[in-house]
């Protein structure tokens, strides 16, 4: 394999990991309360700035990772309790509009508190070197992102499919009313889903800063929208689908830029959103989901 192609592949997988982390939370939340949470992307920003704050105080990286997870979880749980819980049972569009409002509130509060100036964000020297693997080389940052993402997703799958909480979440997603009748603490379960999903998005923020080297208060909107696309690719509401969708989108985006002539690079987002519309047309339930509900 040529170095160029390998580099693109790793790059795509790293980007895909970021999308997958955001998309999984998006999908969990949709699966449980049928809410397209537009504010989800902004947790990426919150995670990135939380990391920056920790770096400022020189916290060791493993601790930073845990704290960022915690900050994301708290933020997600808070948003759910304050804004979305009173709207449980309202029409879908109401929740969607409210989440737009939450997103705008978070972004502009961050602008107010942190100013719009982009800030540099650097992983430690050791992380930024390149490793060579049998003739080809890749940046350690990308490899760490891919590795940690897969670990986190594995932990998530254990939680969802092997614990009581996971079973409660799956039951609530299946049928909220029935789950409540079976004695499941539905409100608690929903908060847990928001917290877990948001924690993953916040970690994506940590990785985002490390990969791109710069963060600003509006950085969350693009990953938020792309995570939605990743969910649509994989089938909204399915965790595995969201993960695969994230990787497919990341790879497709990088290959689009990497393999086509330079002149087309600017059309990257145009390409991604055209892809969204195409998939919604051909297979609106997503590529990996057989269950169909009303979308089209």
């Amino acid at each position: 394999m040529s170095q160029y192609l390998f580099q693109q592949l790793i790059n795509g997988l790293a980007l895909g990991s970021l999308y997958a982390l955001v998309a999984i939370g998006f999908s969990m939340i949709y699966g449980i309360v049928r809410l397209i949470n537009f504010a989800h992307g902004d947790l990426v920003m919150i995670g990135a700035f939380a990391t920056l704050g920790m770096l400022f105080y020189g916290t060791p990286w493993p601790v930073t990772l845990l704290v960022v997870l915690l900050v994301g979880a708290l933020a997600g749980a808070m948003i759910q309790t304050v804004v979305f819980r009173p709207m449980l049972g309202a029409p879908q569009v109401t929740g969607f509009i409210a989440s737009l409002a939450v997103s705008i509130t978070i972004q502009n509060s961050a602008l107010m508190l942190l100013s719009g100036q982009p800030r540099n964000f650097l992983f430690p020297e050791a992380m930024r070197q390149r490793v060579s693997l049998g003739g080809v080389s890749a940046s350690l940052t990308d490899l760490v992102i891919i590795g940690l993402t897969l670990t986190l997703i594995a932990i998530l799958f254990v939680i969802v499919y092997r614990t009581r909480l996971g079973r409660a979440m799956r039951a609530t997603a299946e049928n909220l009313m029935a789950a409540r009748l079976m004695g499941i603490g539905v409100n608690r379960t929903i908060v847990a889903a928001f917290a877990i999903g948001s924690a993953l998005a916040a970690v994506a923020g940590l990785f985002w800063g490390g990969k791109f080297g710069q963060i600003d208060p509006l950085l969350g909107s693009v990953p938020g929208l792309k995570a939605f696309i990743a969910c649509v690719i994989g089938g909204v509401g399915s965790i595995g689908g969201a993960m695969l969708g994230g990787y497919i989108l990341g790879l497709a985006e990088v290959l689009f830029v990497g393999l086509l002539p330079q002149a087309y690079a600017g059309y990257r987002d145009t390409f991604v959103f055209s892809l969204l519309i195409l998939i919604l047309l051909i297979k609106p339930s997503g590529l990996f989901v057989r269950h169909v509900e009303e979308r089209a």
């Binding site: 961050a110 107010m112 929208l225 969204l276 009303e294």
Partner: protein, 350 residues
């Protein structure tokens, strides 16, 4: 969504025993507004005049969005995309031809040599927006609810991407500046009156009833013989036409358009206006659009003096959440306020 739509369908010009016929009363209303506006503009600064013009254009935008979304029950966020299209098309048409040759080298010859005045340019811009809406609508309108919302958000990104990269025609990220200042407060006022009148006429016609039936229950609407696909498409295309014209007028008012002039934040603000005004209510949308434009303008000096950029947007967003809690149907529901209908129709219909 309101279930009270049927009682609103009483607009008509009949009704004896009134002190004036309905068309006269409407003319009187517009005349009074014109005089008031003339008095205001005569004594005020250029800043205030521009602000009022922007307010009118915002109101027209909100009304056209409440037409597409509120009355037909779709959730499109595509307005900024159509505004961008309209602004670029109109600006390219009215730009002085001697400057076009150097600034926009990739224009076809027959457009490059064209010097249109504002009216034909905005009409062509509107038609261009409508055409794009038609082409995009064919696939996109099959989607419902938030899927449509995200697809139309995607449309904004796609249009921005094209405007950013199509250098020879759009000048890329720099945008078009120095657009002739052909539009003014009177154009904006006239456009708003036209938009309100058109949407009002449609709302209280069979087409409007078909739209609201589609909103309430599209299966039931189909069963009564309404072609809901056609209705959705009409609502989308007409809304896009008004959005594109608004974009064109705005560009000729502030004399600049860039790929980011009309962004997702604008789409959000328009949604706020129609939710606060009452989704589907024309008068409500106009009032909310006026109020939000004025409030965010009043907050601007506060933002600047304290360096709290983004504060007005936070206030707008939080007030939206409050409205969703306390009065989810908005100011007017999907109806028009009684006193307005009373004025236009006479007592008989109430």
């Amino acid at each position: 969504m309101s279930k009270s739509a049927p009682e609103t369908i009483t607009m008509g010009t009949s009704g004896g025993g009134q002190w004036l016929a309905a068309p006269l009363r409407i003319a009187l209303l517009i005349a009074a507004a014109t005089v008031a506006l003339w008095l205001v503009t005569a004594g005020s600064s250029a800043y205030l005049t521009t602000l009022i013009a922007v307010m009118f254009i915002n109101a027209a935008l909100a009304v056209s969005l409440t037409f597409t979304n509120g009355m037909t029950g779709m959730f499109s966020l595509g307005h900024p995309a159509f505004m961008t299209i309209g602004a670029y098309v109109a600006a390219i048409l009215t730009f002085p031809s001697r400057r076009k040759a150097s600034m926009l080298p990739d224009l076809p010859e027959f457009i490059a040599s064209l010097d249109l005045s504002l009216l034909p340019a905005t009409v062509i811009a509107g038609l261009a927006g409508a055409l794009v809406a038609l082409l995009v609508g064919l696939p996109v309108l099959r989607l419902r609810g938030h899927y449509l919302a995200v697809a139309t958000l995607g449309l904004i990104v796609i249009v921005q991407g094209l405007a950013l990269n199509w250098n020879g025609i759009t000048r890329g990220g720099a945008g078009l500046s120095g657009i002739p200042r052909l539009s003014n407060i009177w154009w904006a006022f006239g456009f708003m009156v036209l938009t309100v009148a058109a949407v009002w006429r449609i709302k209280f016609s069979s087409l409007g009833r078909a739209m609201m039936a589609t909103r309430e229950n599209d299966l039931a609407a189909e069963c009564t013989g309404i072609d809901t696909v056609r209705i959705r498409m009409l609502a989308f295309v007409i809304g896009a036409f008004f959005a594109a014209v608004a974009g064109a007028l705005m560009a000729h008012l502030i004399s600049v358009v860039t790929p980011r002039t009309y962004s997702i934040v604008l789409a959000f603000n328009l949604v706020v206006m129609i939710v606060i005004g009452g989704s589907g209510s024309i008068v409500g949308s106009v009032i909310a659009a006026f109020a939000i434009t004025i409030v965010s303008e009043l907050l601007r000096p506060v933002e600047e003096s304290f360096g709290l950029y983004g504060m007005s947007q936070v206030i707008v967003a939080l007030s939206l959440i409050l409205v969703l809690y306390l009065r989810p149907r908005g100011l007017c529901g999907s109806d028009e306020p009684a006193f307005v209908k009373h004025y236009l129709n006479g007592k008989k219909h109430l």
